[in-house]
Amino acid sequence: MGSRAVKTEKYQLEKEPYYLPMGKEIELFESAYRNQIPVLLKGPTGCGKTRFVQYMAWRLKRPLITVSCHDDLTASDLVGRYLVKGGETIWIDGPLTKAVKVGGFCYLDEIVEARKDTTVVIHPLADDRRILPIEKRGEILKASPEFLLALSYNPGYQSVLKDLKQSTRQRFIAIEFLYPPKELEAEIIMHESGIDDNTALKLVTFAEKTRNLKDRGLIEGASTRLLIHAAKLIRSGIDTKESCSVAISEPLTDEREMLFALSEILVSLF
């Protein structure tokens, strides 16, 4: 049942997550938090949206509940449901309800993956009412000022099916995340993997080349996350080209011609 979509291993972050700010995003997020406005994070996959939310939760000392959305996610998966246990029905809170109750951050990752009817349950929480009606129990929960709803969404998927409804969009402030500038991205890779700056820069250059191929055979270019994976492999002694191939090119595409072109680019760069 739906509970597989919920990550509840830890709500309160103890260690500071590494995050390198790229612009005013921290200031904007804090301001939204203080004004009780929900936040929409836009940007390609693997560019640091989730990390940013973790960092902000740590910084503002709030518990964080993350839900990775998928197309089977129902409203009950978010709000909660009755389960049958030992001859009785008992109510179990969903992650959204939990977050409202504890006054934490609820982060719905890749919200467009969720079905449209599911998305609607967040509406009363995301406007000035800030309430969560729990229909099955006939309850209405009022969110505390500390509660914050954050969504992430990748506008890169140009499918009409995977677009966010205006009624949802127009409840949030939206912060756009792009791939970090070259030097910053290299710094992030160095920090996360412990690789030298020269290799980090080269990885970023390769990533830039793959980003050139977006919509020209690739759906998206290489993300910072992939670069970190490659860097970690390189650091543990695997050949650079091999690392880039298994950690960057192969995950990006299955198409032979594209893989061939990527490997040629790789050879030209290193």
Binding site: V84, S159, V160, R216, E257, V267, S268
Partner: protein
Amino acid sequence: MTSQLYQESLRTELVKNLSYYFEDEEIKETLVKIDFFDPKLRQKILALCIFLSKMSGYLINRILKYAEEASYHLSLNEMERWLGRAFDLIDSDGLEPALTFLSKVDDSSLNSFCYPEGLALEKISSRLVTYIRGISGVDLEIIQDKDCFTDTSTIYLPPVINRFREPEKNFTIYKLMATYKWAQIACGTFSLDSSKPKPCNTSDIETLFNNFQERALSLDLYNILEAFRVESFLQKHLPGLMRQAGSVKTEIFNERPSVDGFSEKTAFVESLYQYYLKRETNGSSPESLIRALKVLHAYREKERPSSQDICSLYTIAEYLKGDYVPVNPILFLGTIKPEKVSQRLKIKKEALKKNFHGLIKKIVSTPEFEVKLKRNNRDISRQRLINREKLYLFIKGMFIELDEEMGDFFKGKGGIPGILLQGSDIGGNNYCVEMDDLIEELDEESRETQSNGIKYDEWDYKRGGYRKRWCSLFEVDVYPSSEPFVEHTLKKYDGYVNILKKKFELLRRDPKILKRQKEGENVDIDATVEAFADIRAGLPSRENLFTKLERNERNIAVLFLIDMSGSTKGWVTQAEKEACVLMCEALEALKDRYAIYGFSGITSNRCDFYRIKGFQESYSEEVKKRIAGITPKEYTRMGPPIRHATKILKSIDARIKLLITLSDGKPEDYNAHYKGCYGIEDTRKALIEAKQQGIHSFCITIDKEASSYVPYMYGEVSYLLIDDVRKLPNKITEIYRKLTT
């Protein structure tokens, strides 16, 4: 039709054409000569002969002799390539160059077709395009040519590289060629500075090189100069590739000729090429070479090319003795062709003008046009003040700054929308918008469309191959009509529309909750309560205690392609338009994604593709006006629109993709040759291509003779003949319902 039947019909056609020139005996002789060739080649040979027979019958025997000669040197596959090249030349350059090509049947000319291990460009061009796009971030086209050069938007590469035995090494050569050409563009090789005085005071690279007395010499020298500069650029950006280049260079160096016996000038250029490859000179270099190397070394670190340096290098060479006989350029460096660059520039400028003009029209015709300036998201209009010297176009309360060329263009053109004003005539405190910012508004697609159209291949069944980039397709909007056609149609079909909507709504499968399921997301409270009661009562408990959400989404995208040829005039157009209205109403109820396009055109140079409703557009007033605006145009060349529709559908993410064509007859065009077999075969091929992309095609036709050709194009079950055109609007909705359930 089988290939044997083709050959029979081609043979009959040829005999008919030849009878104007020859006696029966002679014709027989010719046919015997054709039969000499392998049956696999015969069709191509016949097609070539028919083409030639339209010019002169006497050419045929000559060409057959050449072909026979060539067949002694080439294998079957090689012969096919050789003939294919001849057809390509006919298509691109005309008869003369093709004849010259065919007449060269000596070993060295045919050599480039004997390449068991050689690498053909067509095999790898898609990879190469992706590679170049990746490293450069710009879209450069790659096209086959006998030389390697670029005109700044296309890279021309030779059809085959057979320098090495291993295909990987040949690919490296292609890669180097393409990369060097891109690097030349990126490094500004084709935009020389113009600040220096005579004789190099011109910016147009073509005019600059025309000023040199020995143009070939100056160009080769410039090629070398730039090679050094470009290489240090590549060294920095693509060190891996440059390592690969290193090993290739050594091999190429070993093949360069000795300079003994060359004139001083020729030897000078050859020595520079060799120096480029090996980076060393043999001990006793002439003084001219030493001076030249100094220039080269200073030049290689420069950011921009400079006309001064090419002048000084040329001056060194100019005083050397003897005539300059151009040496073979280094394989992967290719050549520089200023005339091609100028040509491209002119085309670009023309397109820009047209674009801008189109944009102005757009601004005028869209009531709520907002100037959205995308660059850096900043509102440039607030930052730029009016300059007294410049010329402005005043439209909708906005001053658009024109550059000199555009200014002249508008001054010379009557009837422009808006007012032309001199900067000094406008109050000083006004702000303006730059032309470039406005032009960014136009997306790439329309830019391409505006200039040369989108190119599509066309299938020529006679020669059993594609005519490459043969058709130019232009995507345009149907000119909207203010006639209340949609309202009239809705009135006319009043009751029917409502029934239709109901019918289609029924097809809609909204998600619904199924109760009492064995598995599901939620507990079915009613069932659970009952189960408790049952258990308490000592009955066996039931298992179906869950609710489950059932979603059967219709993931369908359909594109309607409407014949807008001249022959549809009258009732047919009327019926097509009504069909459009009813389909729109029905599909709006069903919520399937749909698009409607019309097509017509005249010759392969102008295939028009009319947008009535795109996939992303809603069924708006504008769309309704466009439906009302559907009018018969010219001819029915069906291949290009089907290929373009395929391209559009390919970009849509849907489980089922449908292409429904409404037609009133066979494919045909202005020139008779598309009529009949050719058009049918091309259309069939285009539909096969669509099928390969996972698109289902269906044809609705009103041509009573359709059964003789439509099943061949679309397949037996994929078409429907409507005997009375008036039934079309009712029928089409029925068909769609059946097709998608």
